[in-house]
Symmetry: C2
Subunit: 207 residues, 2 copies
């Protein structure tokens, strides 16, 4: 019974923070949405910021990042699928909600150090998963090798987050399409690199 | 005297929104910072959102976008200088504040339609200025021609905004360095294109 109340608070917060933002939602708004008395909030959370930290984890867990390490799928296809999965989620919200991670990061300030730390950790885990797929693609020659995988992964995630913010303003998928068009052109190996990779593969198959 | 009060409110709001975010600042916080009575706020602004619209304009006007159309400077140098100017501003805030446009865009929701519209217009003007410089560079062969200038401009700005959000979390310039490294590699013409541009220039000089 007790855990049911906690769960209601977390679910209400996830929805409210995503709809309106962290600062725009008061504890009162959250307990009203959850349908629980305000006093019960403080039984479970010492501060709204600690609730935000928990909500971030749940949000990230729903992003199906495990697809990024599915070696039965080509690395570039995995990467595209990863971002397309998120694009589909945004479409479901009419392109009006954005990404909870990016929204909270933009809202973070010197007054929210715990949220900042949770975001830094969450972004580091995400970067590592994206970089893993890029590294595999660079190894088999299907992804350009000009820049190191971690740099590209950070850049891709940051570009994606910026595109998602712009999507909220545009109210359409256009900024995500810009991302797919331009960011994925970055990942294509130049013609000479592709040729080298093909040659090394054909040499390997003859050995 | 009257305009002095208004000015104080606008300046206080610019600083407060940039420090803490739009939703995290109440009208009370703003008038306290401005040192004016709360009643005076509503003499000048019907709502906090209308003040945000005005603050956005002032913020954008301080971004020295006129440098993007300075034809005495090479287009790629102008573009780099434009983003470097902003990076220097962020350095001045210890990489903790981010971009007011990106922050407000991330905070915008269905509850802030006026802010969204102002942001859409502001981003469109910015995109147009960046696209102008890219177009010039594509014309003289110093910038890659593979993608159209408006698409690249939107992507660059979105990537920049995402990088600036990540900068707030990292508390360092690293995400901006990632941006300069990767985004500017996109703008470099491929070797074959450079050769063609060089040839067409040398043909032109012979005609």
């Amino acid at each position: 019974m007790v855990s049911k109340v906690r769960e209601k608070i977390v679910n209400a917060a996830l929805e409210s923070f995503h709809d309106l933002g962290f600062s725009a939602c008061s504890v009162q708004d959250i307990v009203d949405k959850a349908g629980v008395p305000k006093g019960s909030f403080y039984n479970y959370f010492k501060a709204k910021e600690l609730l935000a930290v928990e909500v971030l984890e749940i949000y990230a867990a729903g992003s199906r990042r495990e697809l990024l390490s599915d070696t039965t799928v080509a690395p570039i296809t995995r990467l595209r699928g990863h971002f397309e999965f998120m694009a589909t989620r945004y479409a479901g919200f009419g392109y009006s909600k954005g990404c909870l991670i990016g929204n909270m990061a933009a809202e973070s300030s010197d007054n929210t150090p715990l949220m900042r730390q949770a975001l830094a950790e969450s972004l580091a885990r995400w970067t590592s998963a994206v970089a893993g797929a890029i590294r595999e693609g660079q190894k088999d020659g299907s992804i350009a090798r000009g820049l190191d995988a971690d740099t590209i992964a950070r850049f891709l995630i940051n570009s994606w987050e910026g595109s998602v913010v712009r999507m909220k303003i545009a109210g359409s998928r256009e900024p995500l399409d810009d991302f797919f068009r331009v960011a994925f052109s970055l990942l294509s190996p130049p013609a000479t690199e592709t040729k080298k990779a093909r040659n090394s593969r054909s040499i390997a198959s003859r050995v």
